[in-house]
Symmetry: C2
Subunit: 306 residues, 2 copies
């Protein structure tokens, strides 16, 4: 069971070596992360994009292209379709965004012939290893679905629980969180949190324990459950997954963690047939490498299921 990013990296070393397909790879920060992932034994990569530009950056950062397959395609949209097609055809295990706009990257994922569509909507999970919290926290959805419906939330839980299982967390505790820990008919997210809990009890959401609505303190602080006399709940400060009411709550918490705590983190897209990595310019180098490691662990679990 991975309780930290160090555990996750140790887990990667026990998996068969995975391969990234990078869409429009001529991006320095992305190539730096790809190079580190290779050096640390996390993943190999196929670089799709403008070969001359890739070569130029590789020279700058001391990256030996002899270690990588490079596919030349100067057109951005076509490079993405080639890269995603490699994953679709199982010639690579994970798909990663290079210097292509997010919209076009997602379009390639949703391509009907060569993409990574599944029945589920795309969502996003951010995995945090925070100083002072003794296990990984899976935050979702902090980046993708603005105002998830109840059905979206079921899908988000299912996709995130798959990621938890891949990380060795066999029965993750999922907390649909809100400002309060009791159902308030005037707060729709608390009503939906209770519905998700009921669906879990009735076996419609499986592989996890859902308990909501929960306030943040009851979700992540064991002592708060004691103080509030909430020790009869299924989650008592030991939540693995924080399911946010909407993107604003999720994203604001995500960024406040990034800017005020000591942490390691990694993020992947979910709801895809293979893990996809969509890091942003503001993500640190280590976040990019950790995201590749997280994707490799998830790709390994997917390969074992098929």
């Amino acid at each position: 069971m991975s309780k930290s990013f160090d555990d996750l990296l140790a887990k990667v070393s026990t998996c068969s070596k995975k391969k990234l397909a990078v869409a429009v790879a001529q991006d320095k920060p992305v190539l730096e992360a790809v190079k580190a992932a290779k050096e640390r034994g996390i993943a190999d990569a196929i670089l799709v994009g403008d070969e001359a530009e890739i070569k130029k950056i590789a020279d700058e950062i001391g990256m030996d292209l002899a270690d990588y397959e490079v596919i030349h395609e100067a057109d951005v949209q076509e490079a993405a379709l080639i890269a995603v097609g490699l994953v679709h055809d199982k010639k690579a295990d994970m798909y990663m965004k290079g210097i292509i706009d997010t919209k076009s990257f997602l379009k390639s994922i949703l391509n009907k012939e060569r993409g990574l569509r599944t029945g589920r909507p795309l969502s996003h999970v951010a995995v945090f290893d925070i100083k002072g919290i003794d296990h990984l926290l899976f935050l979702t959805d902090v980046a993708f679905i603005p105002y998830p419906t109840l059905e979206d939330k079921v899908n988000i839980i299912n996709s995130t629980v798959d990621v938890c299982h891949a990380c060795g967390i066999d029965m993750p505790k999922v907390a649909p969180i809100a400002a309060v820990e009791v159902v308030n008919p005037k707060m729709p997210c608390t009503v939906e949190a209770a519905e998700l809990t009921k669906m879990n009890e009735e076996g419609q959401i499986t592989g996890c324990i859902v308990d909501g609505p929960l306030s943040m303190d009851l979700a992540i602080e064991p002592e708060a459950a004691l103080h509030k006399g909430a020790t009869d709940r299924k989650i008592v400060g030991d939540a693995d997954v924080l399911l946010f009411p909407d993107i604003h709550a999720g994203n604001l918490v995500y960024k406040v963690l990034v800017h005020t705590t000591e942490f390691k983190n990694g993020c992947i897209l979910t709801g895809t047939s293979a893990p996809a990595i969509l890091t942003s310019r503001s993500d640190s180098f280590e976040t990019k490498v950790n995201s590749i490691a997280l994707a490799a662990v998830v790709a390994d679990a997917m390969a074992k299921q098929n």
Copy 2:
């Protein structure tokens, strides 16, 4: 200008001594905070409640009741009305909740004859001094108004700006925050953030600089503004006030700060004719004392205006 709680406490020592009226004072954690506030020269207090019970707790914690005025009233609702009436009649400067349920405490504040009503709705501000951030952050509303309307947000800004001014921040920067820093018609809070910005530019919201929508990183991280090329904005990582889209976003951020960062904080109710302190069981001793200090600074500013 107060940039930390230490500054705020230094500021209190320059004010004339203020007096608390405590509603239903027979509560050990509240009396401990009141005792510390007295000892540190922050505020005196009038204790309204069951005198025998107050005496019993005072003996336990080594509090000399000779230093305080005690008004005996065993009935909870009546004790609150007496305490709030003292503030209404200017015999005390701040109103503090003891062992009375929140609903009854608020009812006393809203009492037409003896309460602390103003034209504005009640709201709440949490003031944070976070390690790594070089100035105070005013978070609002994380506890009170579930889904503020545009009009509520104008009132919340006005009430919070008054608190900033009392703390010596003459032209606070107010960031209506969201998941994104651009207006998206599908995200109502981003549209309202732009409207608040416009109202500020047109002089309908004064005494502050409003700039929104802003993402959390652009609001609190100066480097993020540089990275994102957003240096032409009025707020570049130096927001004083974080205005949240709703109570869930606000409360979840508030609690994640409490549980994962090194901080000092204090909270008061706003929209009242005198500062009111409504701390919760889960607030630490220091948070309660800091809240009294914050209230004292605000009461002093109010007294100077009248």
